[in-house]
Every structure is written in C-alpha cells, then in structure tokens.
C-alpha cells in the first residue's frame, strides 16, 4: 500500500482579535457572534475552497473537510455543502468528509442519502467519516444527552450501514429513530459502501468498534505525533490482541505541517499563524470539554486526566515556536527536514493515511499554497512508498472511483462550446 496524503482545511475564522484569549471565554459553543462577519465570510469560504481545489491539482490523494458547530476554528457546520462544491470542481482526489456526526442527524438516514449523493457526484471518490463528535459539538451545541450519545451513535451507524447494504425496503425500529420505510435512494457507487473512517480523540471503545467493523481509525489531535504515540501504541496493541492484520492502512493521523525553503524561513513565515491557532483557536472553555457521561468509565480509568489539571489549562500559552516544533506539534522546516520528520511520524505511529494540516489559523493564501506546493513536490513523493509491498494485499481503506467518471472540468468546457440551443417546431 502507498501512504495517502489528504490535504485538510479546518476552515478557521481568520480574524479573531489579539485579545481573544483574555477577553473571550471560548472559541467554541458560546463564541461571541459579533466576531463573525458574513460579508467577509464570502471571501473566506471561496479562498478555502480554492485551496482545496489547488491541492487536487497538486496531486494530493485526498482533500478533506470536517464538521464543527459554533466554532471559531471551523466554520463548516455542513461539510457536505463544501464537499459538493469540491466534487464539481475536482476530478482526481478522494473527497474525504471526516465526517458527519451521525448522531446529530435526524433521522441519521440523511447521512446515508447525502453521502450517496456525494459518491455519485464525485464518481466514487468519497471517503466517509463517522465521528462520535466532540462534546462541544454534540452535547453543548446540538443538545445530545452525554450519557446516551454513544448509544445513539451506534444506532445511527447501524441504520446507515443497513441503508447502504440492504437492497430491500426495510423498517428500522430503533430507540432513537423509527422509520417505517428505509430505502436509500440514491445509492453509493462504491459497493458495498465507501471506505469508512472513524476519527477519534481517545475513547478506547472506539478502537474495538473500528476493528470489529474493519474501519480506519484516525486520531485527530492538534498535539502532534510525539504526544500521539502513546495513544496510537494503545490502538496497535488492541489490533494485535484482536488478531487483526497490522496493515498501516487501518490508521490515520492528523499532523500540522509547514514547509519552506529552509528551516529558518519556516519559522519566519509560519510562526505567527501557528501561535494564532494554538493561542486563539484552541481557547476552549474547559467546562465544555468533558460533560459527565460523555466519556465512558473505562476511558476515564485508562487515565487521561492531565487535561483536567489546573496547571495544564495554560499549557498552550507557554508554547513558543521552538516548543511547537521540538514537541512535534508542528512538523516544520525545509523539505529535507519535513521529510525526515514525516518519515519518523509515519513509522512511529504506523499510519497509512496522513491528514495534512497545511493551512492553519490565519495563514494567508499565498503562504498556504507555497507550503502545500513544496510539500507536494518535494516531500510527498519520497514518503508514499514507506511501507513497500509488505501490505500490498491488505487493503488500503481508500476510495475506488469509476475509471470513466465524469470529469467536471471537461463537461463544463463542452457545455460552453455548444453553439446554440436547438429549436423545436415553432407554431
């Protein structure tokens, strides 16, 4: 298998004020509405979508979007809207929607339908993500009861998968959703269904769920690969315990990456934008992070308590560019430096998919494109073959597009070439 690189845009709001951290309680859930400027958003959305389309041209394997609500670093409550736009303007890259918070859709069958639409529209390029969802999105913004969220999530999953795989009309009698006639129409091109990615934060139940269903587990954190290793080691231990293949395709990781001509240039170009991200975008009121009942007792007992200690609440405030780079939060530098560290990251975490966070915080368009292009041309090619042929037959958890799919760029050109409309008989 080859390593897959997905260019990911969180779509942060770029104008959080300098005093955001001191004057505002949270970037998420109860963020000050007056900070959003809809007319400015017109340009912001188009800039971010242009960047995703540019990543397709650069040869990234995938372009990625996700779902957040009432969030200053993610202005994408509906990733499917963005994905639909991308499906019309690109024809190569996988469209990775990582994903839809399936417990929030009423009924969740809506996700089966919209993902099927995206798969048809893109010619089978959809990679479908089913996050349990963060407490900020799921519980505090969308009002789901924390202790019942996971149960509702599993039920939503069962409904969607049956909708995709059961060829007959069926009735679904769930605790949270009851439907007399389930009949997913349209259906996805990829059969039996698009590849499923489960983005996780660290709930150990999620590992077993991925492994039982053979889904990719992707650890999406902003803490970088050094901090992520403990958790990914735990995941791989569990893979071994359940006697599943150790193919890296089962795992993905999100990594912030900054590429420049030299290490010094990377700091000069990107430092302020990384600090914007860590200091403003991650300024989440800690009371929103762990509503009781959201994390299971098992996960709490597994011992991730550091985030609740007072001394760690101010962690990011103390971070400098040097800390960010040395701590692995950010992989930054010249193409050689970045390649070396990326190789270390991919091997340490044993991942087959990398969600490349190349636009972060308030990074301007030109810097984003510069970093993305250098990475695509000078880093990515040397990393794709890291896993050699060892896992060639083990599956790659990637989309399988139609060969003769519609290429939107061609059809649009054809449509414009048509000389004049045909005229029928005139009375």
């Amino acid at each position: 298998m080859t390593v897959k690189f997905c260019w990911f845009n969180l779509m942060p709001w770029p104008d959080l004020p300098d005093d955001f951290k001191t004057e505002h309680r949270s970037v998420w859930v109860d963020i000050d509405g007056s900070l959003f400027d809809p007319e400015r958003a017109n340009g912001v959305y188009h800039e971010y979508m242009d960047q995703l389309e540019f990543a397709d041209e650069l040869g990234y394997d995938g372009i990625g979007v996700n779902e957040h609500h009432q969030n200053g670093y993610g202005i994408m409550p509906s990733p499917n809207i963005i994905a639909a736009g991308l499906a019309r303007r690109t024809s190569q890259a996988a469209i990775c929607v990582i994903g839809n918070s399936i417990a929030l859709y009423n009924p969740p069958h809506r996700v089966a339908e919209e993902f099927a639409m995206l798969d048809c529209l893109s010619g089978g390029r959809l990679v479908a993500g089913f996050p349990v969802g963060t407490p900020m999105d799921t519980n505090f913004t969308y009002g789901q009861i924390p202790a019942l969220t996971r149960e509702k999530y599993y039920e939503a999953h069962d409904l969607i998968m049956e909708a995709w795989t059961n060829p007959d009309v069926f009735a679904f009698d769930g605790k949270y959703t009851q439907l007399r006639y389930v009949n997913c129409w349209p259906k996805p091109i990829q059969q039996p269904h698009p590849p499923i990615y489960i983005p996780g934060g660290g709930s150990i139940e999620t590992w077993d769920f991925c492994l039982e269903n053979d889904y990719n587990y992707s650890y999406l954190s902003f803490n970088g690969y050094l901090a992520g290793q403990t958790l990914m080691d735990g995941y791989w231990n569990r893979v071994g315990e359940l006697d599943k293949s150790m193919t890296p395709g089962r795992a993905g990781f999100a990594q912030i990456i900054c590429t420049a001509a030299t290490d010094a240039e990377a700091e000069e170009l990107y430092s302020e934008h990384m600090l914007y991200f860590f200091n403003r975008c991650l300024h989440v009121f800690p009371g929103f992070a762990d509503p009781p009942g959201y994390r299971t007792v098992k996960t709490i007992q597994a011992g991730k308590l550091d985030q609740f200690r007072k001394e760690n609440q101010a962690l990011f405030k103390r971070l400098t560019w040097k800390d960010l780079v040395e701590g692995g939060y950010v992989i930054a530098g010249s193409p050689d430096t970045v390649r070396e560290r990326m190789e270390d990251m991919i091997k340490r975490l044993r991942v087959g998919t990398v969600f490349c966070l190349l636009h972060m915080g308030n990074m301007p368009d030109w810097k984003t494109r510069y970093s993305s292009q250098l990475f695509a041309e000078k880093v990515m090619p040397g990393l794709r073959g890291i896993w050699g042929d060892e896992f060639a037959d083990a599956g790659d958890w990637w989309c399988k597009p139609m060969d003769d799919r519609v290429r939107p760029e061609d059809t649009m050109a054809d449509a414009r070439r048509y000389p004049e409309a045909p005229r029928g008989p005139v009375a």
Partner: protein
C-alpha cells in the same frame, strides 16, 4: 471541617432491593423516633444530583418528628451500576414506584400513609411519580425541584461548570459550600481524582438523562394530574433555580403552597435543615 468529618453515626439502616425491572437499589430506612410503628406515615425521599451525603440532617429530622423515611439511592449513585437500565423521565419515575413497591409502601391495609419528597432532581422525579399515580400518595414536599424552564430565568448550566464554580451557584454561602462539596478530598492525588471523575461521569451523566441540556421534560403538561397537596420549599438565595420557579410550580400544580427560606441557596436541605424539617413536617402531618 468537612461533610465526612461531621457525619454522625448512621441513623438509618440500609437495605438492598432489586426491582422487577432488574435494577438493584440500596435504600436507607430511617425509623421514626421511638422505634418502628405500624401506623406511622412513610416519606419516600429522593435525592438530588449530589446523592445522599453520609449525614442527612433533614431525613434525621423527619424521623425525629415521628415519620418513617425511606430513601433510595438512585442507580449510578450506588456501587451497583445498573444505570444503563434507565434512560428517560418515564424510566426514572417508574423506577421510583418500583422501589416503593419492593419496599412494601403500596400495600395499603395496615400501612400508614405514603408521602413523597424530593430535592432538586429528586423533586423532579417525585413530581413525575405523582403525575403518574396521584392516588398512591397522600401529600408531597418538593425542595426547589428541577423540571421547569422559564425563558426569563435561565438556569445556569451545571454540566458546563468547572468544579470550583459549583459552590457559587449551589450555596447561599459559597465558602460553606466548598467544604460540603469536596469533603476535604485531595485532588492532587491521581487515584482520588480518578475516583472523583468516574463518580462524576456516572452520577452527573445519569442526571443528564433528565436534566441535559435543558432540565425540562414537559412536566408542566402533566402537572394537572398532581392533585395531592404539595408544599414547595425554596431557598431565597437559590442561584441555580431561582425562587421565580416557585411561583411557576405553584401556578402549575392544582394544590400547592410555597415556603421561602432565608439564608439558603439551592442546597437548602444542608443550609437550613431545621427550617426545612419544620416546614415539611408541618405539611405532611397536618
């Protein structure tokens, strides 16, 4: 001084029952002063989201006043688990009656009258129990119950509060509250913190099934059924569910009176227990 250190020797016996649903519930039984008497009225008392403390001055006080008190420990507040068996308001209210059944409180005959009482979340459950079966209890006392929502008086979101913020909204005097809430625990110790986080996840997670995100499961649409005389006791300094809610409850219930208590916040039973005992005893024995 902490709640643990000041806890008197238990004035109750604990029995463990298993309901017909299959939920195991420890139940505290406070016998009336002078020993059990066949004709004594029984108060079925339901705790708030904090659970029962080792010492419960109001329950002691009611027993001293001649009432028998039966106080179940709700699933998730006991070590038995079983909280997954109850998902919603109907499950909660039926569980209350299921426990009453197992405790022999619904047998009629020689048994004395049955009264309902509940604090905060427990008051919300007691009120729902009364709406389901108003003829099964004689009187009811609700101590600042949850269960309604007034747009002009939004209830602070306890599920988004950090531990150190709780005392401020729960107690008239936050300094006293801090001691009652932490019980002198040392949270710099990892095991203590883990135990605290697990208990919080289980208990407040369970409470969230009827309180999150808005503590309103449309009781007001069923309030008309609660014909039993009901006393509402409220702390004047309640900053969680402010006294405006007392008026709303009184308006919703067919037969309700309100008693406001000075020097008490939402943790009224611990802040002004003597006043609560006096008001509740007077109501239940009149």
């Amino acid at each position: 001084m902490s709640a643990t250190e000041t806890a008197p020797a238990p004035a109750f016996e604990e029995v463990v029952v298993t309901t017909r649903r299959g939920v195991t519930a420890p139940v505290r039984v406070y016998e009336p002063a002078g020993g059990a008497s066949a004709g004594a009225a029984t108060v079925l008392a339901l705790h708030g989201a904090g659970g029962w403390l080792p010492g419960e001055p109001v329950l002691d006080g009611l027993a001293a006043a001649g009432l028998r008190v039966v106080a179940p420990v709700w699933p998730a507040w006991s070590e038995h688990g079983d909280e997954d068996r109850l998902s919603d308001m109907q499950d909660f209210a039926l569980h209350g009656w299921d426990v009453a059944t197992e405790m022999g409180l619904l047998q009629g005959g020689g048994a004395g009258e049955l009264h309902l009482m509940g604090h905060s979340m427990g008051g919300m459950i007691a009120a729902e129990m009364a709406a389901l079966a108003p003829q099964s209890a004689a009187r009811m006392a609700l101590l600042c119950p949850a269960g309604m929502w007034l747009g002009d008086h939004p209830i602070p979101d306890i599920f988004a509060m950090l531990p150190y913020q709780l005392a401020e909204v729960l107690f008239a005097d936050p300094d006293v509250g801090e001691e009652v809430l932490t019980g002198g625990a040392d949270f710099s110790d990892n095991e203590t913190l883990t135990r605290f986080m697990v208990a919080r996840a289980r208990q407040q997670g369970m409470a969230g099934k009827i309180l999150f995100p808005i503590p309103n499961r449309r009781f007001s649409e069923r309030a008309y059924r609660v014909t039993l005389p009901t006393l509402l006791v409220w702390g004047r300094q309640d900053r969680l569910i402010p006294p405006a809610y007392a008026d709303a409850w009184q308006a919703a219930l067919p037969d309700a009176t309100v008693e406001l208590v000075d020097g008490a916040g939402h943790m009224l039973p611990y802040e002004q227990s003597a006043a609560v005992v006096a008001a509740v005893t007077s109501h239940l024995t009149s």
